[in-house]
Amino acid sequence: MTQTDTAVRLEDITKRFPGVVANDSVDLHVERGSVHALLGENGAGKTTLMNVLYGLYQPNAGRVVVDDEAREFSSPRDAIDAGIGMIHQHFMLVDTMTVAENIALGNEPRKWGGLAVDREAARREVVELSERYGFDVDPDQTIADVSVGVQQRVEILKALYRGADVLILDEPTAVLTPQEVEDLFGVLDELTDQGKTVIFITHKLGEAMHAADDVTVLRDGKNVGTVDADETTREELAELMVGREVVLDVESTEPDVGETVLDVDALSVLDDRDVPAVTDVSFLVREGEVFGVAGVDGNGQAELVEAITGLREPESGTVEFDGREFTDAPRRERIDAGMAYIPEDRQERGLVMDFDLVENGILGSQHSPQFASEATIDWDGARAHAEDVVEEYDVRPPNADNDAVSLSGGNQQKFIVGREFERDPRLVVATHPTRGVDIGSQEFIHDRLLELRDEGRGVLLVSSKLDEVQGLSDRLAVMHDGDVMAVVDPDDVTEEELGLLMAGEYPEGYEPRSERDAAGVAQ
């Protein structure tokens, strides 16, 4: 921190939506040349606040001050002109264009009196820019050919190219491997060294403490405190976020395993473009254990799970459930046999957005005798069921008559988790069960998951959150490029080793998976 003046000052920002106060007189001071983390649970108002700063929303009250000058942004265009850049979670890049073209897109230097794009000049500027900040980016590669981490750097360069002094990153680590996360934090350091200011939105305590200079915590739309990252603790931040004390570490006891519930043998699955997504994967899930699958998103986990749950036809191999061949069984048979499934895509799969929670509560069991007696759905029973789930899983707002679409992502997730857990399942297939869920509810979901395990049900847990899979799993498979790299004991493995395996490399002392797999099963 070379300077101590304020780059961005938000004063008393209030942003109301009908029925909700998303930001309630929030103050935020961001020092020039610092990395400032905006930490909070889902729905705490982090993204809303940053959208106000970026000109996407106009606040109902309060002032935005940039470079000691009060501004009114009516669109992102105004914010960009004031030197603010935002990198969204979903990159806005054109896959078929080169890095340099993407960066210059919309602001291309012109030649011949504005008639043509000066590609050379654009490329030169991009090279110069990436050299200045030490970015390892080849300007001539097409976006489709570079990794997600590089794409993110291209997004950052794009903002710098447009003259950004203040960079807002929305959940920048969501899509990265642990190594890429480290690289990103290196980039952020380089940026601040050269006088840029970074604000990043996160709900991960560790990241906020590790990468930021200052951490501002939002809760229920209010600023509940700004702390110095070096002087705070995980416990303090967690308490600020949730408003009560939180047990952070999952207490996983030794499993008491029984019969095999799920037996996946030599399974190969194609993705939507008929490209092999899963190749020759085998594993077992037994009663009373959590079998974890770790990996960076998009390495075949989604297709693997869909093949197991009956949403996708496998190319070859078999799936046995409860000792019965289920490879080609229709989805409904699997549900009836006791396979609960928390899908990855809650808004497309897990919930019917235009149904209320009562109707959504019986999705999957609409034919089961629990709710459908004599060809008529027992809506009273369904209502009672939905209200139970809403209460027990702390779905907010606590009203079963709300349409699913009106709930925030985290609350949608809680409802799905509750519905699936309460199915009395033999096997729970949980993909990202706590994605987007606040840490208070995360703790509850984790506890319930372990309770189910201790009741002797099998759990297949897929998550890209390392601490989650590592903490909950009894055995942990690491997937890379459609293949299980290794099945490891989560208590013995280090985060670095996991990171390497997720990136497709074997750390020292690791053999190819077949032996490990056998050892894992036999342990």
Partner: protein
């Protein structure tokens, strides 16, 4: 904000409109269409010669004369009186209800309404499963043909039994219509489910097939043509096979029994959709196919069964047309199936709403006959007025359906959703 953004916003608001908002939209659309229609009537009246084309024969200038000094208006050359025309269009359909509730006009209104209820709900059921069944017309023709032909063979044998024959023949006729219509609709259903054939194309083509087959069979004496008639029609069915026409005059082709049956069917379909697992599957597939698949719904089977149900309802409509209106099968069936599409859209694809939308259609249809008979306004102009009303009332619902299907509209009032897309999938 650009025009495109505004249009997008408007469409988004339409998609998320509440039931009450939709009612207000429909009502104001109706009033607006009447207002614009009134201007057209005045304009048309200006272009005719008042001397030769008297403004209205039945009620000459009643309202205008009364309220705004009509004589002055007419001396300026506006020959048609919009008040009188709309009076005839809406109230003419009811006839002289107060003194004689069972008059001929009201009978026509009720008969039209009854058949449109069946075709409307047929389209609605398919729409709810996200299937565009344009083949209701063809399914109605097939149902009507089957009922007319089979009953012509069966009925004479039972004709002597009186009421007992009616108790047997009437349900049989309806069942025949349902089975034939359902089977005919199952074809495009199966083609869509198992061969990925677009149902819009197949159902339109099958409409032509149905009409042509009906014409072929009913125009040849060696098949089903009535030898005693010059027209292309089947043998008239005995009265015991038809819907009993109590209360109304015998020459009015309407039956309160059929109307009551239609109401029961609408309520039954509503119950089926809302309260049975099958209805749940159907609605889920229509709203979100991926979620339906997740919930264990067999997508292919649902497509076939909802098409079959839709076709069966259309077929019953055809049977009712034969058993209530015609008394046999005749070629040249009116476009009940196509009107059913509009009725369904008007009703927001809600089976109960179909009843009211069908009534509006019935009123407009018999009302426009009254306008033609009772005034000098040309029939084409009456058609324009009818079309205007339907267009205005149906358009908002139509755009809602389109927007729902193709647009992605986050509720503008949900910050939680905004936050979820930004920070929701945070890993």
């Amino acid at each position: 904000m650009s025009a495109a953004d505004r249009a997008h916003d408007l469409l988004g608001r339409l998609v998320h409109a509440s039931a009450f908002e939709r009612f207000l939209i429909s009502t104001s659309a109706l009033l607006l269409s009447v207002f614009i229609g009134a201007l057209i009537i005045l304009g048309a009246g200006r272009m005719t010669d008042c001397a030769s084309a008297a403004y209205t024969i039945a009620v000459p200038g009643k309202f205008v004369t009364q309220f705004v000094g009509g004589s002055a208006v007419f001396s300026m050359g506006f020959c048609y009186d919009p008040f009188a025309v709309y009076d005839l269009l809406f109230l003419g359909a009811l006839g002289d209800v107060l003194s004689n509730p069972l008059n001929g006009q009201f009978a026509t209104t009720l008969a039209e309404t009854t058949i449109l209820m069946f075709t409307g709900v047929a389209v609605a059921v398919a729409f709810r499963a996200d299937i565009f069944n344009i083949g209701v017309q063809g399914q109605l023709v097939v149902g009507a043909l089957t009922t007319g032909v089979v009953l012509a063979f069966v009925a004479p044998a039972l004709a002597g039994l009186g009421l007992l024959a009616t108790v047997v023949l009437l349900p049989l006729g309806l069942l025949l219509g349902a089975v034939a219509g359902g089977a005919y609709a199952a074809i495009p259903g199966a083609l869509k489910a198992y061969a990925d054939a677009n149902e819009v194309i197949t159902t339109i083509m099958l409409n032509f097939v149905a009409t042509s087959i009906a014409l072929f069979l009913v125009s040849r004496e060696k098949f089903f043509k009535d030898p005693a008639s010059f027209a292309n029609q089947t043998v008239p069915l005995p009265d015991v096979a038809l819907f009993p026409k109590f209360l109304f005059r015998p020459r009015d082709d309407v039956s309160l029994l059929a109307f009551a049956f239609a109401v029961v069917v609408l309520v039954g379909i509503w119950y089926l959709l809302q309260h049975t697992p099958f209805g749940y599957d159907l609605r889920t597939s229509g709203l979100q196919p991926d979620a339906a698949e997740y919930g264990g719904v067999d997508a292919d089977r649902t497509i076939v069964s909802s098409m079959t149900l839709s076709g069966a309802l259309a077929g019953i409509g055809g049977a009712v047309y034969v058993l209530m209106v015609l008394g046999n099968f005749q070629t040249g069936v009116p476009d009940y199936g196509f009107d059913g599409i509009t009725v369904s859209i008007l009703a927001g694809n809600n089976p109960l709403g179909v009843g009211f939308a069908a009534l509006l259609f019935g009123v407009l249809k018999s009302g426009s006959i009254v306008v033609q008979v009772g005034s000098d306004v040309p029939p084409t102009l009456v058609g324009v007025l009818r079309g205007l009303i339907i267009l205005f009332v149906a358009m908002p619902e139509f755009f809602r359906m389109i927007g729902r299907k193709f647009g992605s509209f986050d509720r503008p009032s949900e910050p939680a959703v905004a936050d979820a897309t930004g920070g929701g999938s945070d890993e």
